[in-house]
Structure formats: structure tokens, C-alpha cells
């Protein structure tokens, strides 16, 4: 429980550490894409933490980095094959960003700094915490961007081929200024995440961050 809160708050990968920013900006135009991306990263984190912590004594330090990259790339390939078979539409949208999990700073950084030094159980716990932290941050960003940018909240649309449900809601009443398409564009992505990070520093981290 403590590790999960740690992943959400003090070591929140997106808001506190500033890692894994590419997907955080790119796929958060829709709520659904965001949580699927979060789940993908969680999956990769779980399996690569398992493997790296299992083999941490066998892998020589000099070739640590290439080994980790290959381990992560293996699981990313598995994930790509899965998505391209079962969730074609979504795979088409997420596209390069799934493959780019290989070089995602969260997974690789965590492998080098944490999983290669700790035993299996601690690593797995940490992976769950960091993965959930990442997922929640993405959902948080996407929540604001989708509602403000296109006045919808997509919970299930492309995934409906598996679940059989479709859930797209309209949230805001009709107004003159909303939907403001700025939030759906790249510029809106940068500005939204900047403001959310500022609020995170101010209210959740309690001003600790400001000192450095």
C-alpha cells in the first residue's frame, strides 16, 4: 500500500519526476487512449521488473543497458502483436508510442536504478506503484484535455470490440467557448500538463519541490 501511494505521490513518474513525457502528451487527447497506454506501460513494467530482478546477479554490469533494452523490447513486441490482433483501431492510434515504450525513461530508468538491485517481490511492488502512478497521471491529463477540448468523455469506444459496451459521455452543457479545440492540439497538451504540474507541486507535494 505504501509503495502505491509513493508511486502516486512522491515518485509520481509524470508530475514529480518528469519521466515518460512523450506518451503523456501524445496519447492524452482521449480518456480511453490514456488508460490503455497506462495499462500497456504497467504490463511492460511488471514483466520487465520480474525478469531483471530475477537475473540481476547473472547480468554483468558492463552490458546491463543493452540487456535491459532487449528484455523490454521483447515484451513490447509481445504487446504490439497482441494489440494489432485484438485492438486494431487503438493500435493504429497509439502506433509509434507503443513501440517507444522500449526507450521510455520510466521503464528503463527503473530497471537500472531499482530492479537490478532489489529482490523480486520488492521490484514487483514498486512496478505496480510506478505503473499505477503513470496510469493515473495519464488519465488525469486526458480527463481535462478531452472534456475541455472536445466536450466528451470516452470511456469505452475502440475497446468495445472486446467488452461489447460503448460509453461516450457529454459532460459540459452547451456553451459558447467550449469545446475549445486548443486543448486537443499539441499546444494545449503542453499548456495543460504545465498547469497541472504546477498545481501538483503547489498542493500535493506541499512546496517541497520548489526549493531545488
Amino acid at each position: 500500500m505504501k509503495t502505491i501511494i509513493n508511486g502516486l505521490k512522491d515518485e509520481n513518474p509524470v508530475f514529480a519526476l518528469g519521466l515518460g513525457l512523450c506518451p503523456a502528451l501524445a496519447v492524452t487527447t482521449k480518456f480511453e487512449n490514456a488508460y490503455i497506454m497506462g495499462l500497456c506501460v504497467l504490463f511492460i513494467l511488471l514483466f520487465s521488473s520480474l525478469i531483471t530482478s530475477l537475473f540481476r546477479k547473472i547480468i554483468p554490469p558492463s552490458i546491463q543497458m543493452p540487456t535491459f533494452i532487449v528484455i523490454i523490447a521483447t515484451f513490447v513486441t509481445i504487446l504490439e502483436m497482441f494489440l494489432s490482433t485484438y485492438l486494431k483501431d487503438l493500435y493504429y492510434i497509439l502506433n509509434v508510442y507503443i513501440a517507444l515504450i522500449v526507450v521510455n525513461c520510466i521503464v528503463l530508468g527503473r530497471c537500472i536504478s531499482f530492479y537490478s538491485k532489489n529482490d523480486v517481490l520488492t521490484s514487483l511492488k514498486d512496478a505496480v506503484g510506478i505503473g499505477l502512478g503513470f496510469m493515473v497521471s495519464l488519465m488525469f491529463i486526458a480527463f481535462f484535455r478531452e472534456i475541455l477540448g472536445s466536450n466528451t468523455l470516452t470511456i469505452m469506444d475502440a475497446t468495445s470490440s472486446i467488452t461489447g459496451y460503448k460509453a461516450v459521455y457529454k459532460i459540459l452543457p452547451n456553451m459558447k467557448i467550449f469545446p475549445l479545440s486548443l486543448f486537443a492540439t499539441p499546444a494545449g497538451a503542453f499548456i495543460t500538463i504545465g498547469i497541472l504540474m504546477g498545481l501538483f507541486n503547489r498542493f500535493i507535494k506541499g512546496g517541497k519541490h520548489g526549493s531545488n
Binding site: C22, A73, V76, E80, L100, A187, F190, G194
Partner: protein, 189 residues
């Protein structure tokens, strides 16, 4: 699409940092000083060009004929890692001073998502060989230009009073957002 339009759109309208969000870590990390930004840009240009060419060749002459396209991610990342290592070795022999000044940037390029991203985008967009070169060159020049402009802005941050909670990443993000807005006026989104 002509080569020139691919080249210019890679610099401006489809800039890898500002519209595709690739290479953000190096964008925020190394853009503290102008000289570092230019060095980083040079490294990226070189590695991106060479690795896109090799990835193109490997994809079309190895992966495709043997029907092992699903191995592209893993093979591309290994190609990039090898290229970076090779360039480092060559630089150490030919020009040790330049190698020292590049320092940690060169090995970090392996995990730079801009380079892997461009290699994958080349394949996804089904570019021909010449188009691949145009896209890689355009993207890397776009990367260098944006990172340089951003570094000149960031050096001004030290002189002004920023609210405590916005220091560091948040203000950089908002600045980058404004940069995209300026650019998107030019594109006409």
C-alpha cells in the same frame, strides 16, 4: 509527395518535438545552455541520419524478405545502440577533444525516443529511400532549431521571478506550449 515538401514539413509542421512529442527528455534536460543545445542537435542529426538509413536497409532487405517484421522494434533499437557505440569509438580515435565535450550526450542518444521514433515513422509512412533521408534530415534540423530556440528562452528564466510552484518543468512546458501556438499560426491549424 515531393522530397522538398517532406523535408520542410518535417522541420516545421510535423516537428518531432512540438507536434509529435518525441525526444522531450533531452529537450528539457539539455536545453539549459545554448552551446549544449547545439552540440546535442549536432549529435542527434548525425545519429538520426545514419540510423534511419541503416534501419531502412535492414527493414527492406532483411526483415521483409524473411517475413520477420514483428522484430523491427528490437532490431531498430539494437541498430541505434550499435551506431552510437561505433560513433563514440570513431570519435575517440579521431577527435578526442570533441568526444570529451560531447560527454554523456552520445551514449544517451540510444534511449532518445526521437531517433527510434523517426526510424519507425519512416517505415510506417512507407517512405522510399530518398524520402527517408529527407525526413530524417528535416526532423533532425527541426529538433536542433527548436532545442536551440528553447535554450535561448530558458536562459532568461534565471533573471525573472517565477512562482515557486511553476519552477522547473511546469514553466518549461507552458513555454513550449506557447512555442507550438506560434508555430501553429504559421501552419494555419
Amino acid at each position: 509527395m515531393g522530397l522538398i515538401s517532406i523535408f520542410t514539413s518535417a522541420i516545421l509542421t510535423q516537428n518531432i518535438i512540438l507536434t509529435r512529442f518525441l525526444g522531450l527528455c533531452s529537450f528539457f534536460g539539455t536545453s539549459k545552455s545554448e552551446k549544449k543545445a547545439l552540440l546535442m542537435g549536432g549529435c542527434v542529426t548525425f545519429v538520426m541520419l545514419i540510423s534511419s538509413i541503416i534501419c531502412y536497409l535492414v527493414y527492406h532487405f532483411v526483415l521483409k524478405p524473411y517475413d520477420i517484421i514483428y522484430l523491427r522494434t528490437i532490431s531498430f533499437i539494437l541498430i541505434i545502440a550499435i551506431m552510437v557505440e561505433l560513433i563514440e569509438l570513431i570519435l575517440k580515435k579521431i577527435n578526442p577533444t570533441l568526444n570529451d565535450s560531447l560527454g554523456i550526450y552520445l551514449p544517451l542518444l540510444t534511449t532518445n525516443c526521437a531517433i527510434l521514433g523517426v526510424c519507425l515513422l519512416n517505415i510506417n509512412n512507407a517512405y522510399s529511400f530518398m524520402e527517408t533521408i529527407a525526413f530524417a534530415l528535416g526532423s533532425s534540423i527541426g529538433f536542433t532549431v527548436v532545442i536551440y530556440i528553447f535554450s535561448t528562452i530558458q536562459t532568461r528564466f534565471e533573471k525573472i521571478n517565477i512562482p515557486k510552484c511553476l519552477k522547473g518543468y511546469p514553466i518549461s512546458f507552458i513555454t513550449a506550449g506557447l512555442m507550438v501556438l506560434v508555430l501553429s499560426r504559421y501552419i494555419g491549424v
